[in-house]
Symmetry: C2
């Protein structure tokens, strides 16, 4: 019998959530679509995978059997995908590197230059990662390394090379009352709605709503965004304020957005990261060396 890995991911989500509605939300599809898909999986396998009840979906015996076997399938496919992408990169001499927003800021060019010196025949392709699943492209081998801000989800599966640390500031609509002040304290922002990353990003989201400095004070989410453009628009729109690295003021300057220095909040660190699971190649080694060189020279 054939399956789509998508179906397997769907199944896994439902098994983990124990709840169709929540699983559907997590998968960014509608609940009826998920209902249909799960039922179809059951039909194809000829087995009942879930016990439906008012309180949710509970795994049956066959369901548990599938849940236990499923990771092996998805992992095998991930490995296959990585192998193909690695071979393709080798063949076309392209190193694909992911980045979040402004990557390594002013250091980016130095790193790329240092790498070009080591591998003149290679080309570096920078790909923007979504905030929704910043590490997904790493896991699938779509990019072989990425410039990331710490922390991020599944960080423990990656090797890290810290590149720079910079203060965090606050971004808000230019006409926001607090923009009058030259400098702000984080305590002054506790009641402001905040523009946040998607909930699935865990520690990453928490870091950028300043959860660690709130002392348990609840936060009001003004909007959820996945890309810099949405993020900037939401801020300019007055949906809320947002924490941002200081460099955002240079890389994302706009007349309708004000960036203000902020006290009482820890700085942000940018690192080059690459998956522990991937077999390291010499080209990646050269890129890491280039990044290390550029990071040390300041």
């Amino acid at each position: 019998m054939d399956v789509d890995t998508r179906l397997l991911r769907y199944f896994r989500a439902v098994a983990e959530e124990g709840n169709l509605t929540k699983a559907a939300a997590r998968l960014y599809i509608s609940q009826p679509a998920l209902t249909k898909q799960i039922r179809q999986l059951e039909d194809q396998l000829g087995a009942t995978l879930f016990e439906r009840s008012r309180s949710g979906m509970a795994l049956t015996g066959p369901g548990s059997a599938l849940a236990e076997s499923i990771d092996a399938v998805l992992d095998a496919w991930d490995r296959a995908e990585r192998a193909v992408r690695a071979a393709d990169a080798e063949a076309s001499k392209v190193l694909r590197v992911g980045f979040l927003a402004s990557a390594a800021n002013e250091k980016t060019q130095a790193i790329l230059a240092a790498f070009r010196k080591r591998r003149p025949d290679w080309r570096v392709e920078l790909r923007q990662a979504s905030w929704g699943a910043p590490a997904a492209a790493l896991a699938s081998g779509e990019v072989v390394a990425a410039f990331m801000r710490l922390p991020f989800p599944n960080q423990e599966d990656c090797h890290l090379l810290e590149l720079l640390t910079e203060p965090r500031c606050v971004a808000m609509a230019a006409n926001h009352p607090l923009a009058q002040q030259e400098t702000l304290r984080f305590e002054d922002l506790l009641d402001e709605p905040v523009i946040a990353a998607p909930g699935a990003t865990g520690a990453f989201r928490d870091h950028w709503i300043g959860a660690e400095a709130r002392g348990g004070r609840p936060v009001k989410i003004g909007a959820v965004t996945e890309h810099p453009d949405d993020w900037l628009t939401a801020i300019a729109n007055g949906d809320g304020i947002a924490l941002a690295p200081e460099s955002a003021a240079r890389y994302y300057a706009r007349p309708d957005i004000a960036y203000r220095p902020l006290t009482g909040i820890t700085p942000s660190t940018v690192a080059l990261v690459w998956p522990k699971a991937a077999r390291p190649t010499s080209v990646l080694g050269d890129f890491i060396a280039a990044a290390r060189e550029a990071a040390d020279r300041r």
Copy 2:
């Protein structure tokens, strides 16, 4: 990225055949469909998997990387599928057993009775297997064992318990000139067209066209069939003659078909087979024991 295992099988077929047209034929789809699918796989992976030329499709570097990783994925899924089916069988107390045509003939009832005595609360479900891929249902765990005639494709992946051996005879249209004779010699049939199993079945097909007794004499294929019904129809229709187990005369008697004893050809053996790959269960053990008991008592 998501894939359907179907796509992976398609890719594997093309990689093995080195030829779109032949691969398409093997997969029972049209060549344009396969062209599209392979191209789509390449698009999704963002890599060229094949080098196209007038002489066929040759794997590129990324293509080879995929070819090497692909079996792990498909095997993992096979295992998952088997695990689910096993758990489902356990839960619903159904033992699914495959069979080809008349299964174990007169022994079948004795085996089932012996099993019922051991496991009164279980039910046996007999499923007919296609001649096109007689062992497919075994590999996927759709059936946990099967009554098969030896040899069959991928036989080496299975444990065997031989149940009975019976002479092979010849089946032909009732109005066929040779049907006049009470007994025939295999040498008399060498020029007759033969109804055969699909080419992919290898040794199975060879056995039933009597390849081992032809001494290299070429065989004329009158028709290719996958199921007893097609087979009987083709014979009655005069498309060709066919070798058949003696018991076919009892289980597939028809006024428009004549079965005649045959000399100069080896007999046919029926065995109960079960995959080596599957974790053996105690129920299956009981079924095997029941089969052994019924086979020994004669």
